[in-house]
Subunit: 317 residues, 2 copies
Amino acid sequence: MCSLPVPREPLRRVAVAGGTHGNEMSGVYLARQWLQAPGELQRPSFSATPVLANPAAAAACRRYVDRDLNRTFTSAFLTARPHPDDPYEVTRARELNQLLGPKASGQAFDFVLDLHNTTANVGTCLVLEAASNVFALHLCRHLQLQSPELPCRVFLYQLPGEESYSVHSAAKNGMGLELGPQPQGVLRADLFTRMRALVAAALDFIQLFNQGTAFPAFEMEVYRKVGSVDFPRTEAGDLAGTVHPQLQDRDFEPLRPGAPIFQLFSGEDALYEGESIVYPVFINEAAYYEKGIAFFQTEKFTVSVPALPALAPGPAP
Amino acid sequence: MCSLPVPREPLRRVAVAGGTHGNEMSGVYLARQWLQAPGELQRPSFSATPVLANPAAAAACRRYVDRDLNRTFTSAFLTARPHPDDPYEVTRARELNQLLGPKASGQAFDFVLDLHNTTANVGTCLVLEAASNVFALHLCRHLQLQSPELPCRVFLYQLPGEESYSVHSAAKNGMGLELGPQPQGVLRADLFTRMRALVAAALDFIQLFNQGTAFPAFEMEVYRKVGSVDFPRTEAGDLAGTVHPQLQDRDFEPLRPGAPIFQLFSGEDALYEGESIVYPVFINEAAYYEKGIAFFQTEKFTVSVPALPALAPGPAP
């Protein structure tokens, strides 16, 4: 495993972003709360910066205005010459890259936690690019131990060779937090409270690290994206059916060859024709219809995460 | 009870509308199916007309483009002089009024069934303007008897003195069918199948009536809207909290004085301060945030529905 470097200094520049998608209400309202009253984001060694990532989309209660902000942090968009006709989110990505980055620079924020909701039944889902992020995997482990009775899975979303494109990729390190199911445009108190608690626990972990805590090695189950499956469609591209009732809401459960995955409008079933078990996630997420994704296929495997050493004591800040 | 006149002729001009709200996917996809293959809407005595009510909103997967189509069938909108700058849905309401109405005219359709989804946990909810609609109440009874194990409630939404404004108000008679919970933009197979079966049963009922079936009197529980409750808000009008976990998903259950209804972002609870039990419905519906509605308050009462007499035999059509 080729690991991201483990931080050797305290993480002082930390941000918590909500409203990267303007209709994912837990993060939208947490960000708005913290912009009014940021005290909740303060810890002895740092104060996390609250960010409402896509204010125009949040004001309109839409995922985005022109294009998906969370797919816009590529070098092509970030480094192109600005133009007055640029899509709103391209301009906004450049602003956020100035605030949180610049991406891949020494000036970038140390850590960005980006808050999301999904209509899929993922429970608490911690979203990392890859298993090489030792610091973030320790953070995930810390979050899992907070509420061991609640499922809290780790999803690795980056495919081999894929350029990072998410808001948190502007920073040196980061992760996404997805809570579901929650309809777009709805604020459920249960998910709001849970997200608030998870953010607090994440900041506590950074505080523990900053104050010199070491964390031992462990093994962890993770789900790694291996591809996606589109809905059945007509020749014209319209839906010809939707997710089968036997698959709906079964995120992170094993899908076996021959099991039904779609129910066609004709009444017939479409079966999973793969040759091995996969673990579907983000099943029937509203925002993915337009992306041609009915669900992601993942593989489940166990990763051995090395110890996170304590920071060497340094001069007091 | 001042009743709508009971039909004295067979209902030949019947429509089933979906996509009145373009992100309520069960009706959107049923209407699209039926426009391709209308055979499912045929009965011996009539063929129901499928209507995709708001095609522009359905194409954009939004509730509406400019304004809520299902609040636009008032005489002010329908009779005003058309103008090129009219909101899209005002123009569309006039088109639909020509197709299904004109409202309150002898040329209007006999019955329009309008298909909706909600993010609220209403199960199957049959939506009538008022308890004076004897024909529609018999239809509701027929639908309830199809699947007696599933809750199937009747919601009377019109307040005293209020002008009708819904799509189905263009016809001589009609009702709405709401299935939930389903997120906006998501098509769940279970709700799609259930809506399809309910529409079939509704058309079967009209067929039974048309062929001379009489239906006996009965008593029925109905829920009548008495008002609405907004979210707690800041002085600036922003949300200050959301629906309490003890109220969320409890549509049609009794709400007692002193019970919590909102959880404020501060962590405090807001309590229901009414003096009597009410039955909240459409709790935390996504589309109602902008309308200032966290839920409707209803009263539950029992209505005695008179018999629906058989049509007098007439000449064969």
